[in-house]
């Protein structure tokens, strides 16, 4: 017999028709797999592309391994650092924050002036995107792209700054990007980038030194290591070498603000890329298992015949496993292709967010293979588990009608008081829920997972709001946080009261120090406050209000964790003031703080023990002065002004963007819930065809039968939602830890409104799934079902 080599074998023809017959269910499983694999591919490729882009960018622009903020270090001293073991390259620069003068007198715009030589051997080189590099003479400047864009500043434009007590003009010759400001943030307190009010500007060494009053000196040292350098030893050596000039802060590459945010984002992306798809594929696998185990039961006679004809157990099993495998391969391939298509867009979206002038979008075809393999293997395993019943079917038994299952009383029947009060249809519904416990548990788990994901998603905006409120309303409550360029005497607070109209004002001391406990180190700002400060309220880890101690300090939870210290422990504070010994301070209490990592002390004690007596380097103020910014710009010693209102505005803008990803998550979770309920209902319909046919003969309408199923599903849905609350809580708690960083400490406890929102979303998707099953019920030929002996 001549066979067409490309024709399907008959057993595969049966498979193809079986798929065609259950196309709704097949499509539902396929959708989940496609989504899961698309997310896997898109996120992984984006992650690889982003890591590679960032790495290449850092490499090409000489991103330093170590940043040191110092007092004035003579320029030749920077050169000498190269002699230290492990130092490959060392360069110095001047960096200072200055106010930019704009037409709107009441606007406060901070500009970070950083000097650059434009040389090829410089560390942290900028990439000129437009225009040209500055010359080393004159007042030319490069402006960081986002700031230039946000403010509409172009090449040839002039900007005015207030520096060194005088107004200076800078001419913009180029628009640039810099690896230190991929994520343009002013400091850890700023929380989010605000390109309109904070920018970076690169100027010549001469200009910078003059503006900062640091002629022939630098206040920042950048270092790159040899490949095999011992970082800790190197840092000690460098700090020793610069000790006589004063090291204010040492920042490792991993702690550099922009870099650490990018790393956190990319780590999150990577974690999501490997966890979210697993969830999807797991659900798809469970659905496949459920479908196939049902199919095998239904196909008992067919399996018997196949075996009687001479098909082996393996061939029969594989016939069903192929259903899953086809799902896996089709879903894997379609998902991988979709994912690859999305990866390019997603990488670009990330680059909108992070500003990197080069883009390495490469298609890693290996992911296509991984994705298909992952999905095929997972589906095959699910198929094997689901269809394994086919092995047990003996031919002799398969040829006879299956004996009816032993009827059992359900749990509720043992509660006669309750059971007697149920109507007939309620009794049937209860029995059906208990009839197939595995499937009920599956749907229950599916709905609780859907709800938990919805809850988690709905909680996000609340968490962000709470974070803002907790930090800016409950924890610290000032309208303005004003920083001075150099420390001044406490009495300056009175001068400030003359300068601006204030309702209330307090002095502050805020300096970065390196805190050490054993081999644990952390650079943080210690903030000195009046002991009776009205701007801060501290609560310790137990939720009890606490106050600034006369001696010792309060530290935030994340700092306590980073240093591995607790209440009563001593922490070494490394002074950056030349010739001053390190100081040991006792931790008096560990406090809660959602944003940032700090230590707090009495302002007087802090001055005496760590700096100088009676000094402040900033003030906190409540003020309704409409001209506050204008007045402060003119003040020579004012380095920074942070307004809480501005921070909130930036945050609200950012939330709009977040809402988009929340929408996507809601849809993903919804599809998951939809597919679970749809498939489970269809499987249950198939199983109970005879029962429904009998009900039809008894006079039940299709709609009544549909409502019976709806009521069953609704009960499971309500239980699922109730179960989803603790599951969502666990997810949230886990995420609180995962999302909490040195910068944020997130407490993701779901709020009441999130509980309600998640419930509404879940109900909508479950309702849609049920509506889709109604079509199937309408199409079921009940009378035919009664006549048929299945084969």
């Amino acid at each position: 017999m001549v066979k067409n080599r490309f024709a399907l074998s008959k057993i595969d023809t049966m498979l193809a028709r079986m798929i065609g017959h259950s196309k709704g269910q097949f499509a539902a499983v396929l959708t989940i797999i496609i989504l899961g694999i698309a997310i896997y591919t898109a996120m992984n490729m984006t992650s690889v592309n982003m890591y590679k882009t960032v790495d290449d960018y850092y490499e090409e622009n000489g991103f330093p391994d170590l940043f040191l903020q110092t007092a004035a270090v003579p320029s030749q001293e920077a050169e000498r650092l190269k002699e230290i073991d492990g130092v490959k390259q060392a360069t110095g620069r001047v960096s200072m924050d200055v106010p930019m003068i704009t037409d709107d007198e009441n606007e406060r715009v901070n500009l970070r002036l950083i000097t650059t030589t434009g040389g090829e051997d410089e560390l942290s080189r900028s990439t000129v995107l437009e225009g040209k590099m500055i010359s080393q003479s004159g007042n030319e400047a490069l402006l960081i792209e986002e700031f230039a864009k946000a403010r509409g500043i172009g090449i040839g434009d002039e900007i005015r700054i207030q520096a060194g007590g005088v107004q200076r003009t800078l001419e913009i010759t180029g628009i640039a990007a810099n690896p230190e400001y991929i994520y343009l943030m002013e400091n850890t307190q700023s929380m989010l980038p605000d390109a309109e009010n904070f920018g970076v500007c690169y100027v010549s060494e001469k200009f910078g030194q003059q503006a900062a009053g640091l002629s022939g000196s630098f206040n920042e040292i950048l270092i790159r290591y040899e490949e095999d350098a011992d970082e800790e030893a190197l840092i000690d050596d460098v700090e020793d070498a610069l000790d006589i000039y004063g090291v204010k802060q040492t920042v490792k590459q991993e702690d550099q603000l922009s870099n650490s945010i990018i790393n956190q984002e990319l780590t999150q992306l990577k974690n999501m890329a490997n966890s979210l798809p697993v969830l999807f594929v797991l659900v798809a696998g469970l659905i496949l298992m459920m479908m196939l185990s049902r199919l095998v039961k239904k196909d008992r006679i067919k399996i018997g015949i196949l075996k009687a004809i001479g098909y082996s157990n393996r061939q029969v099993l594989f016939h069903y496993v192929k259903y899953a495998l086809v799902c896996g391969i089709l879903g894997g391939a379609a998902g991988a292709v979709l994912g690859m298509a999305l990866a390019g867009g997603m990488t670009r979206l990330y680059l909108e967010y992070f500003h990197i002038p080069l883009l390495r979008v490469e298609f890693y075809y290996s992911y296509l293979i991984y994705a298909i393999l992952l999905s095929a293997v997972f589906c095959t395993v699910s198929g094997l588990i689901g269809a394994r019943g086919a092995l047990k079917i003996s031919i002799a038994e398969a040829m006879h009608a299956e004996s009816p299952k032993l009827g059992k009383r359900i749990l509720l029947e043992k509660l006669p008081f309750f059971w007697k009060r149920l109507s007939f249809s309620s009794k049937m519904i209860s029995k059906n829920i208990f009839r197939n416990k595995k499937r009920t548990i599956f749907v229950l788990a599916g709905i609780s997972l859907t709800y938990a994901m919805m809850l988690f998603t709905a909680t996000m905006p609340d968490v962000m709001n709470q974070l803002m409120n907790e930090h800016f309303k409950e924890f610290q409550r000032m309208d303005y946080n004003i920083g001075f360029r150099t420390p001044v005497l406490r009495d300056t607070v009175r001068d400030m009261e003359h300068l601006i109209e204030v309702d209330y004002i307090e002095g502050k001391l805020e300096y970065p120090f390196e805190l050490t406990n054993g081999n644990k180190k952390q650079s943080v700002s210690i903030i000195g406050l009046d002991r009776d400060t009205k701007f801060y309220t501290f609560y310790n880890a137990d939720g009890v209000q606490t106050e600034i101690p006369k001696r010792g300090m309060l530290i935030t939870e994340n700092l306590a964790k980073a240093l591995n210290v607790g209440k009563g422990d001593l922490v070494r504070i490394k002074s950056y003031i030349p010739n001053r010994d390190d100081v040991y301070l006792q931790v008096k209490d560990v406090i809660k703080q959602t944003l940032g990592m700090n230590a707090y002390m009495d302002i007087r004690t802090m001055g005496e023990t760590l700096l100088e007596k009676n000094v402040i380097n900033g003030v906190y103020a409540d003020s309704k002065d409409p001209d506050i910014n204008e007045k402060l710009i003119r003040a020579a010693n004012v380095a920074s002004v942070m307004s809480v209102a501005d921070t909130r505005a930036v945050y609200e803008e950012y939330m709009d963007m977040t809402n988009l990803s929340i929408g996507a998550m809601v849809i993903f979770s919804g599809i998951l819930g939809f597919c679970i309920v749809y498939n489970a209902t269809i499987v249950s319909l198939g199983e109970r065809e005879m029962e429904f046919s009998s009900l039809r003969v008894l006079g039940f309408s299709k709609l009544e039968i549909f409502f019976m199923i709806v009521r069953e599903n609704n009960i499971i849905m309500i239980l699922g939602i109730l179960l989803g609350i603790p599951v969502g809580n666990i997810m949230a708690r886990y995420s609180s830890e995962a999302f909490s960083t040195d910068i944020y400490t997130i407490d993701m406890s779901p709020t009441f409104s999130a509980l309600i929102m998640a419930g509404v979303y879940t109900v909508v998707f479950v309702f849609l799934a049920q509506l889709a099953t109604y079509r199937k019920i309408k199409k079921l030929d009940f009378l035919q079902a009664l006549k048929n002996r299945e084969s």
Partner: protein, 233 residues
């Protein structure tokens, strides 16, 4: 020469706490090319016997030989091979695949057998040439049983095992099916074993084996088998 030989076959089933003896010390021989009818009321053990000689079930004790091969000593793999190449089954409820056409149902079997007969010819022989592309739901019971016979015969087995092949059919269709089985026996030289409770069918057989309560109560050669058309019930 005996194509099939059963020696002291017994089969016990455990039903809860009761042991049901479906077959008790059953022995018989069937010669090559015979048309055999195994007759008995329901519960007499005839289906159990068919399952065992068809390689679908194993006896509790005793042996079955196909020529000189002991099939009761076969493992799972050999039993599959045996069902695939040596025996063909025809069932009471046809049991053909609902989502395959008549021709595809036959091909389902020929695709895995070693020496199949041409599907087209077999379909023609069973009178289904013009129904080859119909699905079971588009065919009558008699036509479906013809597909079932075609599927069993097309594998070119040595023995055809038929379990109540007319049980679900009306008289005329039943007679037509028996005629077809007779044709397979006479024209193709296949040994055919029909299991039935319908004693009238026994008149067309070369050998009749009667069973009751798991035992053979009679095993005789029918000296004068009648023509299928003359059977009445």
């Amino acid at each position: 020469m005996a194509i099939l030989r059963a020696e002291h076959l017994s089969k016990d089933y455990q039903m809860g706490e009761v042991v049901v003896k479906a077959l008790q010390d059953t022995s018989f021989e069937i010669r090559e090319g015979e048309f055999v009818v195994i007759l008995g009321p329901s519960g007499s053990g005839k289906s159990t016997l068919l399952n065992i000689i068809g390689g679908m079930d194993l006896p509790t004790s005793g042996k079955v030989f196909l020529r000189d091969e002991e099939i009761t000593a076969y493992g799972d793999r050999e039993l599959t091979e045996y069902r695939r190449n040596k025996v063909g089954f025809v069932f009471q409820f046809y049991n053909i695949m609902a989502n395959l056409t008549a021709e595809e149902n036959v091909e389902l079997a020929t695709e895995i057998s070693k020496d199949p007969l041409p599907v087209g010819e077999i379909l023609e022989a069973v009178g289904l040439s013009d129904r080859r592309n119909h699905f079971p739901a588009q065919m009558s019971g008699g036509e479906q049983q013809r597909v079932s016979i075609a599927r069993a015969v097309a594998k070119n087995p040595e023995i055809l095992l038929c379990d109540e092949p007319t049980g679900a059919l009306d008289f005329n269709t039943g007679i037509a099916i028996l005629g077809l089985l007779h044709k397979v026996n006479r024209d193709m030289g296949k040994t055919v074993i029909v299991i039935t409770h319908n004693s009238d069918i026994a008149f067309m057989a070369d050998r009749v084996i009667r069973m009751r309560s798991g035992r053979i109560i009679e095993d005789h050669i029918n000296e004068k088998p009648i023509a299928v058309e003359d059977i009445k019930w």
